[in-house]
Amino acid sequence: MSIQEIQDEIIEEFAMFEDWMQRYEYMIDLGKTLPLIASEFKTDDNIIKGCQSKVWVHAELKDNELEFTADSDAIITKGIIAILIRVFSNQHPKDILASDTSFIDQIGLKEHLSPTRANGLVSMIKQIKMYAIAFQTQLS
């Protein structure tokens, strides 16, 4: 599926939730259940330090597609990471570079991507794009 298709799918899923509680409960579940990163990649080199929570990101190129794994020490942050990985992982670097994250507004999680939250997510998205630039250069 393309990035756009996945984003549309997520927007549709979130539309079923009646209120913020249900959205949060869903994210907390995502955050609790998903193992997102291999422990050997949970290193200081891969860490993004926010004021609030820490985020680890690791990227690998497989068959011209970028695979992301990531983790956080906060559950809600981790839940949002799971959503971001679903969108951006296993995509071609040029598609990642052409995409945006405005779907986050539409699923009512905008505040978590605000720079004032300092939870590491804004830096994580920057990092995803940086990896995409780096691997795109490698591919071309």
Binding site: Y24, Q52, D73, A74, A118
Partner: protein, 404 residues
């Protein structure tokens, strides 16, 4: 007479809703809310006598200068400084600290020692580390106990003839601990060191008397005590402020400018280069007048009630650990619940209209000490209520239920 209902009417922001819920504002240690009496002073300045101070002969400039210098006297009286020119108006605590840190660059020698405490805000750590880098001076740290109390015995062993300066906060922002600054100052003076007390967290709760304390420098920000952001003060003893070089060059801080040599203005202007935050300075005075109108003893007594109530309620919840259990505290309670990340609790409390601070509170060394990523911090003001604490507790229980 402390009339909570009337006091709350002074703060229009308390009427608003957040995420569809009535706002419960418990982030007072980050910044306090502003009463109409202060907002009106700012509006009145811009509506009726906005002009530059200390340089115009026209009426508006005179009125603005009178109001600004009047505010300086209010600050002087509040902190009981001996002279109005010992009060330097700054942009806030951080600016005040940097004036002193910069000023000591030429005075310190390699091997001189500076002492800070383990519970300082980053703004009372980093400027001194930078000063050490510039001068070769060495930074020593007074450790603290698990309950968040400074180890005064160790402090005494750190003091020596090498000690030149001691910097401690009056109250810890992350823990609420009230430090024994009286003793800290006496011990430092006994060996000839000078002391700067960071009063940012103390000022909204405790009225410090700089002469009685015999403190060398005392600094604070207006926005912690019902005033606006971007203004604060540096109190310094006249002789010390005269000895220190200016911090910034510019207008206002000069006596005479020649291309060969410029002479500096007298205190306080020597440290007040450029056009200051005039409306902010005047409003700082108004904020002190407002709080003194209620009375700091009354405020402290009521806030103690809020603190005791919140502490008791929090302790009744399974898994809550409170950080900072000093016998003398201001109305700040920092806590975590089991292994739940403070960011997760803060995010859910926000959804329920409760404004608390989460994170390391710009005091990373404290978080490292307890080996935690941060805390949830609820900090109370005299306009808060026990009902609001009940709402926080209810919201917290809901957050725990969702997260565990």
């Amino acid at each position: 007479m402390f009339d909570l209902n009337n006091i709350r009417k002074d703060f229009p922001i308390l009427e608003r809703t957040v995420n569809g819920q009535s706002l419960v504002y418990f982030d007072n240690a980050a910044t306090s809310q502003t009463p109409n009496q202060v907002i009106d002073v700012i509006a009145d300045y811009y509506r009726n006598y906005n002009s530059n101070i200390h340089r115009g002969v026209h009426t508006l400039s005179q009125e603005a200068t009178d109001a600004y210098e009047g505010a300086r006297k209010t600050v002087q009286n509040h902190f009981n400084a001996a002279h109005p020119h010992e009060i330097i108006m700054t942009s806030g605590t951080t600016h005040s600290i940097n004036i002193i840190a910069s000023g000591y660059t030429q005075i310190l020698r390699e091997g001189d020692e500076l002492i800070i405490s383990a519970m300082e805000h980053h703004s009372n750590i980093v400027p001194w580390q930078m000063l050490c880098e510039r001068t070769g001076a060495v930074l020593k740290v007074i450790p603290m106990s698990q309950t968040g109390v400074l180890e005064m015995d160790v402090y005494k062993t750190l003091l020596s003839e090498k000690t030149k300066l001691v910097f401690v906060n009056h109250v810890s922002n992350a823990l609420g601990t009230v430090n024994p600054i009286d003793e800290i100052i006496k011990e430092a003076h006994a060996i000839g060191a000078k002391v700067l007390i960071d009063g940012a967290q103390a000022a909204p709760h405790i009225k410090a008397d700089v002469q009685a304390l015999d403190v060398d420098f005392y600094v604070t920000s207006a926005h912690k005590l019902c005033g606006p952001t971007g203004v604060g003060m540096l109190y310094g003893k006249e002789s010390l402020l005269n000895m220190l070089p200016p911090y910034q060059g510019g207008g206002e801080m000069i006596a005479e400018v020649r291309f060969e040599k410029t002479t500096y203005a007298d205190l306080p202007h020597k440290f007040e280069a450029g056009t200051p935050n005039i409306a902010g300075g005047i409003a700082f005075g108004a904020a002190l007048d407002y709080m003194n109108g209620i009375g700091f003893d009354t405020i402290a007594a009521y806030e103690q009630e809020l603190l005791d109530y919140a502490t008791e309620q929090l302790k009744s919840i399974d898994g809550v650990r409170i950080y900072g259990e000093a016998p003398q505290k201001t109305a700040v309670v920092s806590f975590n619940v089991n292994e739940i990340h403070p960011y997760d609790i803060g995010s859910i409390l926000d959804k329920l209209g409760i404004a608390v601070r989460t994170g390391h509170h710009c005091a990373q060394p404290i978080m490292d000490f307890y080996k935690i990523p941060g805390t949830v911090r609820a900090s109370f003001s005299f306009y808060n209520t026990k009902e609001e604490i009940d709402m926080m507790i209810k919201a917290l229980k809901r957050a725990i239920q969702m997260l565990e």
